[in-house]
């Protein structure tokens, strides 16, 4: 086609309409990039666990077996049982009591860790992903699980050393690698020969067997599979089993909150891209009608015209789509890497289906958008095509000029405001694109505000910015003398507004498995910053405030009475309020000192003081001063508002909003470029009769400012509605309820500002062509046809 007339027409068109070519390329670049990013995140976020589980050949079942009751041959035979598709093990397993080497004080003690002996990370089941460092190659080396559930307890860097207490010789392990097991099969791994050396004298030996099954889609199926394995071994050989479904449930509560807003942004992005690409491409062909007429008049056939114009669009479109694919892959890979770390589900990549589907769909869309008007142009006679390529149909928008001309506004403004009525279809598409961009902005602003409140609410950092604990090697519990010391220091310290003693215990309750956090306060505590969703803060003994997750999972309601089990003692409480609290995966209880003391007197011992500060007191300076007074036996904590997951969410929200706003702005840019080209002669007339460059800019900006304003005004309620629909879904996915104040984040001035978001997008998109319109020489514009 290079030397053919069609090829020449394509090259000529691309070169002649450089701005339009660049806009098509840019819109497709950003649209494709945003779509790849959004869809990759949506696809990966909707099933990251499954994705990682498949990629890492996760274990459907982890069984702990007593090696004294089952021989290696019997264990190996379980891998050949019906329904078992793969098995790994036996891996020696040991639970150790670790302490950080060379660290004195309470922080030196770490929670118990389960270690497995594995020669390599890979294998047919539970293919562990090494995140950093290397695998354990000899005794004394430890690879630490880097899953968040482990990190919350054991956050050690490479090179850190731990001492294994309770074992002869107190062996030391050095962290040489950090790795992720999708099914959390262990807290760490050592070489197989190391396990026996780390076992305490009284601890029985254990080995770990990992299985994958043909059918493991439900809890019942996994139970049946476990029964098959157990039956293949001597009675009592299997001492414990863990289903992957339990791990999946935990992971889902982390991932869930991402899904609703990513879906919302993804859907907005895809619709907007479709609208703008169709508008840009079809308008580019329509704008070329006159040239099409000329080509036909010199002998181009309809097929050649269609080929010339689809080719002219295809050049920037293909370049834009390929660039957008690369951009989207880079951004998605970066964000998914962060997301994978936050989710603790190992590596996440852009699904191949997204990398193929999005570019193909975009090019298909471009093809349809270009072919339809090009085919129409091909059917037109030369004279008709030339006529169709001229300015808007006579009569369109005249009434708008007439009405708006009567307003007491500068004439360039009223002329600009009336212009959209000349091209109603183009205006409608532009309005829709700006509307979606403004909805995204409104939604994102509300979501960011709500998430900030969520972080503040979860940390209680605003109410109690300082907390005091004990730096003891042996206990966190403060004795009476220590309590007196702390209280005296708090009373003497300028800036102290109020304080309360707190103890953190655990409870069990019928209907929920495991232990969950229980907090009791000694003294007035309503100020401690736990937001209430319903009911009231406890006011006396026997009352408790519980989290939304507690109510949801136990089926209780505010006003009900429930009996908790605290340290094996029953503790009946009446639920008086629903709190916004995220600890314990959304299941927690807060009560008074007297309530806990009545149920289990031995537990009512403070382990922490929460401190509220007077206005204007710096928490950092206060903590330093208090630390000097109390000395090294006490630890002063600054109550941080940081949340890595929320930070990641805010980053994603910001990135997606920016991309959508840029796409919307490019849509506007395209519209204004087209309008400017069509009305270049009119621009010359305006200038000839005395329109200044500033007036010209005002007029061109007003071509889309009114559309932007209308879009913004419509977008605000839509964005708020989206926010109100998505945020509760996010909270629900994390087992959280939401205080009404977390939804009610849009207020006066902010709303007014958001209503202008559409106009800001429109004005930003119009600035470039407005500047061009202002600079064009009057004589040149008047000569334009």
């Amino acid at each position: 086609m290079r030397g053919s007339p069609v090829g020449q027409a394509v090259r000529g068109g691309v070169a002649r309409r450089r701005v339009q070519t660049v806009v098509i390329g840019l819109v497709l670049l950003v649209s494709t990039g945003a779509s790849v990013l959004a869809l990759a995140l949506v696809v990966d976020s909707s099933a990251p666990f499954d994705h990682s589980f498949t990629a890492q050949r996760g274990a459907h079942l982890a069984a702990v077996v007593d090696p004294a009751r089952a021989t290696p041959a019997e264990l190996a035979a379980t891998g050949r049982r019906p329904g078992v598709t793969a098995a790994a093990g036996p891996f020696g397993e040991v639970t150790i009591a670790p302490q950080i080497a060379h660290v004195a004080g309470a922080n030196g003690f770490l929670p118990p860790m389960t270690l497995a002996g594995r020669a390599t990370a890979g294998g047919p089941v539970d293919d562990i992903v090494l995140q950093s460092g290397h695998w354990a190659q000899r005794p004394g080396q430890l690879v630490l699980a880097s899953n968040p559930s482990s990190n919350e307890q054991i956050g050690l860097p490479l090179g850190a050393k731990i001492t294994v207490t309770g074992v002869p010789g107190r062996p030391t392990l050095t962290v040489v690698g950090l790795a992720t097991s999708v099914t959390n099969s262990a807290d760490g791994w050592v070489v197989p020969g190391e396990v026996a050396r780390l076992r305490a004298p009284a601890e029985p030996a254990a080995v770990q067997m990992l299985y994958r099954f043909r059918s493991a889609g439900s809890a019942a199926a996994v139970r049946a599979d476990a029964a098959v394995v157990s039956a293949a071994l001597p009675a009592g050989a299997v001492t414990a089993v863990q289903s992957y479904l339990a791990v999946k449930m935990q992971e889902t509560s982390r991932i869930g909150p991402f899904v609703p807003f990513l879906v919302a942004f993804g859907v907005i992005g895809v619709i907007m891209s479709v609208l703008i690409v169709a508008n840009v491409v079809s308008a580019a062909v329509v704008a070329g009608y006159r040239r099409i007429g000329i080509l036909k008049s010199i002998g181009f056939t309809p097929a050649q015209v269609v080929a010339a114009y689809t080719g002219q669009i295809a050049v920037p479109a293909v370049a834009g789509v390929l660039g957008g694919l690369a951009l989207g892959l880079v951004l998605a890979t970066l964000l998914l890497k962060q997301a994978a770390n936050a989710y603790g589900v190992g590596a996440l990549g852009v699904p191949v289906s997204v990398g193929v589907t999005v570019p193909v769909a975009m090019l298909g869309l471009v093809g349809v958008a270009a072919l339809l008007p090009a085919a129409r142009a091909g059917r037109l006679s030369a004279v008709q095509a030339i006529a169709a390529g001229r300015a808007p149909l006579a009569g369109h928008g005249y009434a708008a000029h007439r009405v708006l001309g009567r307003l007491r506004l500068p004439r360039p403004v009223t002329i600009g405001l009336a212009a959209p009525f000349a091209r109603p279809a183009r205006t409608a598409v532009t309005l829709a694109a700006v509307l979606l961009g403004a909805v995204a902005v409104t939604f994102a602003v509300g979501l960011s505000s709500s998430l900030s409140r969520v972080v503040t609410g979860l940390s209680q950092a605003a109410a109690q910015p300082v907390q005091i604990g004990l730096s003891s090697q042996n206990t966190f519990i403060m004795d009476a003398a220590q309590q007196r010391t702390v209280v005296a220091a708090l009373r003497a310290q300028p800036g102290t507004r109020r304080y309360v003693a707190e103890t953190d215990q655990q409870f069990a309750v019928a209907g929920l498995t495991g232990q969950h956090p229980l907090t009791a306060f000694r003294g007035a505590s309503a100020w401690t910053g736990y937001p209430l969703i319903s009911g009231h803060w406890y006011t006396g003994p026997g009352q408790a405030d519980v989290s939304t997750g507690f109510l949801t999972l136990t089926g209780k309601a505010v006003g009900d009475t429930v009996t908790l089990s605290v340290g094996t003692r029953p503790m009946p409480v009446r639920i008086v309020g629903e709190t916004f609290a995220g600890q314990g995966r959304g299941v927690s209880v807060i009560t008074s000192w007297q309530t806990l003391d009545a149920a289990n007197p031995g537990l009512a011992q403070p382990d922490q003081y929460d401190v509220g500060l007077r206005a204007g007191t710096s928490p950092a300076a206060y903590s330093q001063a208090l630390g000097r007074t109390l000395g090294s036996r006490y630890m002063i904590f600054g109550n941080s508002r940081n949340s890595p997951v929320v930070t990641l969410m805010l980053g994603l929200i910001g990135t997606l909003t920016l991309l959508l706003a840029v796409v919307a702005g490019l849509g506007v840019l395209n519209t204004v470029v087209l309008n400017t080209r069509e009305r270049v002669h009119d621009l010359g007339v305006f200038k000839a009769v005395g329109m200044t460059p500033r007036q010209t800019i005002a007029m061109v900006i007003c071509w889309v400012a009114g559309t932007g304003l209308v879009a913004g005004l419509i977008a605000v309620p839509l964005g708020i509605a989206l926010h109100h629909a998505v945020l509760p879904e996010m909270a629900s996915s994390a087992n959280l309820g939401l205080p009404a104040s977390y939804l009610d984040v849009y207020h006066g001035a902010e709303l007014a500002g958001l209503a202008l978001a559409g106009m800001v997008i429109a004005v930003a998109g119009a600035l470039l062509p407005a500047g061009w319109a202002a600079r064009i020489r009057t004589a040149t514009a008047l000569r334009a046809e």
Binding site: A391, G684, F686, A688, G690, P693, A779
Partner: protein, 259 residues
């Protein structure tokens, strides 16, 4: 014409007191559209006095429209100076040029250059509104002009519904709305039939008689002969002839002589 179409000479560098002073002065003006291309105008010197009616003639591509554009401040010379009403317009910014055109120039084009989506009245009002006049004030002025030009019944019509002659009258009304001292007409009868052409020609002569300086670009020797007091002939960007047709009166002197 009953309306006040007298040009506003105020602020014109004292020109009202010295009507014979040059209103337009081009000195050594060269205009090239491409750096290495043939100049559209080459070292042109021309002076037009206040109240003169000058016809610029020449074949297609001779540079006459370029000359008019330079006088109107629609384009800038490559070299040389253009002074109109005492102002060096080649030195003005784009904003300065726009203000200059509003106050000093009324432009009349061959193809009218009316804005199709504005009514006749709104077309006429536009320069006044751009200059900051209120809509009410501008409407009064436009009404007078439309009446004077005999097209007041069309004030709410759109230009597309008018005949060529009527459109050119609308364009003339628009050119006069800010009471400019200088009327520049580029082939004003080129798109009109003979009868309408004569009417427009007569109208331009009347305007000149009422004090407007008129610079007229035309192919039509009859138009130049009947309605201009001086003819400047351009070929290949150079002034070949600069001839005073009516040697009497204050308009008669051949004010611009090629140097």
């Amino acid at each position: 014409m009953n309306a006040d179409i007298t040009p506003d000479w105020s602020g014109g560098g004292g020109a009202a007191d010295q009507p014979a002073d040059p209103l337009i002065q081009l000195s050594d003006v060269t205009k090239r559209y491409e750096d290495d291309g043939q100049p559209a105008l080459q070292e042109v010197n021309l002076t037009v006095a206040q109240g003169e009616a000058v016809a610029i003639m020449g074949p297609s591509g001779s540079g006459k429209s370029t000359l008019l554009n330079l006088i109107a401040g629609l384009d800038r010379p490559t070299t040389g100076t253009v002074t109109v009403a005492g102002q060096r317009i080649d030195r003005l910014s784009e904003t300065g040029l726009a203000r200059f055109r509003r106050q000093r120039i009324g432009m009349i084009f061959q193809f009218f250059n009316l804005l199709d989506d504005l009514t006749v009245a709104d077309n006429v009002l536009l320069p006044a509104q751009l200059a900051g006049l209120s809509r009410r004030q501008a409407r009064v002025r436009a009404g007078e002009l439309l009446a004077a030009l005999g097209i007041e019944r069309h004030q709410d019509a759109y230009p597309g519904r008018l005949s060529g002659g009527e459109r050119q009258r609308v364009a003339i009304a628009r050119a006069l709305v800010n009471r400019p001292a200088l009327l520049l007409a580029d082939e004003p009868t080129g798109a009109l039939d003979t009868a309408n052409g004569e009417e427009i020609g007569t109208l331009l002569r009347d305007l000149n008689a009422s004090g407007h300086t008129l610079v007229l670009v035309t192919h039509n020797p009859d138009l130049a002969a009947h309605y201009a007091s001086r003819t400047v002939e351009i070929t290949d960007g150079r002034i070949l002839r600069n001839e005073n047709r009516h040697a009497a009166g204050q308009h008669a002197a051949p004010a611009g002589v090629p140097r």
